[in-house]
Symmetry: C2
Subunit: 197 residues, 2 copies
């Protein structure tokens, strides 16, 4: 028995479709639109339309970009011999902050039988097609079961090709206190301890 005016109701409806935005938050956002300048609303509206029109997937690495191939794939200064394989385009932005200078390949997910996602649903064939002159593939999937399974699958698939396949290190977070580290991570940090040279 909501009695919001129909056009306000529509905005609230549209906001509440976003993940993590409940009914109350959507209402708060809707009322904020009413209160704030018209320019702000128009700006968001235009940005929404533009982003759907302008952003596409890179034909080489499946990253999102306004051009295809994406700026990373066409960057001559990057080391094309090392490919970092990630689950989603979001992950690339995280690695870009670290200063990583290789190139990327977006799988578009991970192998997850429970969700009905097998190797054929991922961009694996495209990865195989770009492995000429590649020395190393870093499988940077998430540190969970599906991520590990996908990494293992890729490692086995690539083993006949004489390409080094590596995985991200597990261990203590930098600056982390032992007290707050979970058992599994602590165990891993012992198993994969590094000799001090």
């Amino acid at each position: 028995m909501s009695s919001f005016p129909p056009s306000l109701e529509k905005v609230i409806e549209a906001f509440s479709r976003f993940p993590g935005i409940g009914k109350k938050t959507a209402q708060r956002l809707g009322f904020h639109v009413l209160k704030s300048d018209k320019e702000n609303a128009i700006e968001l509206a235009n940005a929404l339309v533009e982003v759907k029109e302008n952003i596409h997937f890179c034909e080489i690495c499946h990253h999102i970009a306004e051009v295809s191939p994406c700026p990373i794939c066409t960057d001559e200064r990057r080391d094309k011999s090392i490919i970092c394989v990630v689950e989603t385009p979001e992950d690339i932005f995280l690695f870009e902050k670290t200063g990583f200078r290789g190139i990327y390949h977006v799988l578009g997910g991970v192998i997850s039988p429970l969700d009905g996602i097998g190797p054929d649903d991922l961009n694996i064939e495209d990865l195989l097609n770009r492995l000429t002159n590649v020395n190393e593939v870093i499988v940077a999937t998430n540190a969970n079961i599906e991520g590990d399974a996908t990494a293992l699958y890729l490692a086995r698939l690539l083993s006949p090709m004489n390409i080094k396949v590596s995985r991200l290190a597990r261990g203590l977070p930098v600056g982390g206190h032992l007290e707050y580290v979970d058992d599994a991570t602590l165990l891993r940090s012992i198993d994969e301890r590094v000799e001090i040279q």
Copy 2:
């Protein structure tokens, strides 16, 4: 050193201008727009434009509505002798859920000297102009210092007019446990105790 494509950056920028939406959440929303159907993005975009065009303030009560006077002010079945004075249009939607059948008046805020808001900044004159045939004014401002001060101000202003001015009751929340009620509310619930008839 963010390296999001410009049109994605714009969407994230626009989202992060909303209250309670930080940088991380804005990014999550931006990526959601990329992943979800184009129709959803267009729908939100259109809704944003429409809401700014269609929603206006009611010339009588300052509520938001697509028509002025608003549907509440023009509803013949409502008791026009009792006006509920609220701070914001949002508050009206809350009272509508209670089944209140009087009419409303939106102050547009509360008297708050610290924020530089005095009586002249509120829709008080419009309230005074609509008090013919009104028996009671319920001042439904928030239960804080500014809300109380505003209620007191209105009560004094209206006292010569032979209109009953009331305020919302304070006390235990319905279904509330004594254990979780703060001292000030508990004290108030004793002071304003009601005789069991």
